[in-house]
């Protein structure tokens, strides 16, 4: 049986999840030139927010009712933490050299992990996440899991909403203006502080949707899930051209597909059998990233911008 279609779907699904998280990196970077390394942990707290809602609901609630509430819970928690982080950790450092907020972000990332570990009940090891009941769907030779249906629907929908918001609304245009030149935007009457908060909040909301998708896909969440996934999403954002929201999604998908195909096929190339296992997938993903950056330093969809003096 030809496994390529299935592997492509595996990669697309993984990539869509990377993409959802990558949007947060890319938006924040686009507007304040900050790599928010705590974003992976904001994703993680979103997952725990969704789990908390599930635990509050009476037993036996169907997922049709529970899932929307869980998404709301995830978004509320993630947005609250992201906005709080912006207000108390990043805003005081906005005029400081760029390294300072970057280091704060790394510190915040560790702090959030430890906080969930310490205060969330039984979070010291993995917690199981509720599942959508029902068997997988077969489309031709491709099997799609019930839990992944959420991801299939959520990723394009999120992109459409985001695209509409940025291109068509007043606030969205304000974001574009601030991204281009914050000082001029301010002179033109754009409330840049508000725009920055919105960028953090939007990124966190998409990460929260990604976190629910993660829980449904893998059936478990834990306090360390954000770190590696955050790193991958950051990579996806760079790959797609950091600062470009469509680039984040494209970068995520390219990264996910590359990892999956590397696992599936590199071992079949003569002489490469040692480098084809899943444990090498990350290596190949980064080889791809480096190649893209060598030949297209601005990333796949990034625009070539002159460095500011």
């Amino acid at each position: 049986m030809n496994e390529l279609p299935q592997q492509l779907v595996n990669g697309l699904l993984l990539g869509a999840m990377y993409g959802l998280v990558a949007i947060g990196y890319t938006m924040v970077y686009g507007i304040v030139q900050l790599i928010n390394f705590a974003h992976g942990e904001i994703f993680m707290t979103g997952a725990f927010g969704a789990l908390t809602v599930w635990l509050w609901l009476p037993g036996g609630t169907t997922m049709w009712i529970a899932l929307p509430l869980m998404i709301v819970g995830a978004v509320i928690v993630a947005v609250a933490i992201a906005v709080g982080a912006e207000r108390f950790a990043y805003r005081p450092l906005r005029t400081a050299p760029r390294l300072a907020p970057l280091i704060t972000a790394i510190g915040l990332s560790l702090a959030l992990q430890q906080a969930v570990w310490a205060w969330y009940p039984e979070a010291k090891s993995a917690r199981t996440f509720p599942q959508i009941s029902g068997g997988p769907f077969d489309i031709g030779s491709v099997t799609i899991q019930t839990g992944d249906v959420f991801l299939v629907a959520a990723a394009p929908l999120s992109m459409a909403v985001l695209g509409y918001f940025v291109l068509k609304t007043r606030t969205g245009r304000g974001m574009q203006a601030t991204a281009q030149d914050p000082d001029t935007a301010k002179l033109m009457g754009v409330n840049t502080d508000r725009i920055i908060v919105i960028a953090f909040a939007l990124g966190a909301a998409f990460a929260a949707v990604g976190a629910v998708a993660y829980g449904l896909k893998y059936g478990e969440i834990n306090f360390r899930m954000g770190f590696i996934l955050g790193l991958k999403a950051f990579t996806a954002a760079v790959l797609g051209g950091i600062g470009n929201i469509y680039g984040a999604m494209i970068g995520g998908v390219v990264l996910g597909v590359a990892e999956t195909l590397a696992t599936a096929y590199i071992a079949d190339i003569p002489g490469m059998d040692k480098f084809g296992s899943q444990s090498w997938a990350d290596v190949w993903a980064f080889v791809l990233l480096i190649l893209v950056l060598l030949f297209r330093p601005q990333g796949l969809l990034g625009e070539r911008v002159a460095d500011r003096a």
Partner: protein
Amino acid sequence: MRQRSLIALTAALAAGALTLTACGSRDSGDEGSGKDGGGTVVIGVDVPLTGDLSAMGLGIKNSADLAAKNANKRNFVKGVTFTTEALDDQAQPSAGQQNASRFVSEKEVLGVVGPLNSSVAESMQKVLDDAGLVQVSPANTGPSLSQGPNWQTKKERQYKAYFRTATTDAIQGPFAAQYVFNTAKKKKVFVIDDKKTYGSGLASTFTQEFKKLGGQVVGTEHINPDTKDFSAVATKVKNSGAEVVYYGGEYPQAGPLSKQIKASGAKIPLVGGDGVKDDTYMKLAGAESTGDLTTSVGAPVEDLPSAEQFVSDYKAAGYKEGYSAYGGYAYDSAWAIIEAVKKVVEANGGELPSDARKKVTEAMQSVSFDGVTGKVSFDQYGDATNKQLTVYAVKNGAWVPVKSGTYTG
């Protein structure tokens, strides 16, 4: 240029952060270690208290603690009070080594129970051995730890201070292979491991025996234990036509792996080793895991008459976490240290000698008693003489023993 150098810098910082998390939190309970050892013996415990493997680690910590309490209650060694001090290694070799140095620096520590992971043991052995501080692991199954890197051809003891109450993968892997081939009648296997000392060792001893019996290995994979997405591997397993998957590794990956393999449409059992045998496995693998198999060291604790007391004591002590796969072995490991201390104290006229560590290590070699898991004693390599193993299967969301025995090559 500024943008790009920022990205490079970020990558470097990320790597730094990775290292930081690896040696993160540690208990800060070393107050009072300065006071003179007036008859107090501390048994150090090094296990993962946090992270994915904490269920097993906490079971070990509690069981060792129970052994110390029982020894005090029975006044087993006159004039000596036992306490335990548990440090978290987060299943990381670097943290294990730091903990080992810390135990060495605290002179009241006369023995260490742990660690859980063979890869952590590798980093601890030399530190403890140099200080002559005895270490008894309830869970390490990597053969090279005691018998040297060339254990298949030339066995050679590595460290005089290293002992274990669990049997080795030189026995566990082949035992699983015989069960899968002869009893379960599966001829085609897909072998997966996590590249760690324990997982890859177990996978290779399994593979050797399985091939020797006439079985066919239709595919191999190595997974990265940091990720949770095994869909690509699952699809490969499905297309390989394998009748069974053997996984060398631990339950945090084995659970999701089993789940994703079944989800891909391959309704075949996953077989693992003792690192998989924890109740968390079923939570992670879901309802489809019924029929998955694992081997584990020893006979099931619940079925041993010698363990009845342990099980009821453990319940009575009111520990929040279960004793998990290694509780009985951890109790026996701690008890072996207590027995060795007793010998040393009795030989020294009822007092701890000044070179207690060295004497305890020497005494350990000849320790022999009836423990929770049966007769406890050590061979010339420091390995347990008890070579019993059991196959368990998932039934109704629990591990049910299906066959006990000893491997005969």
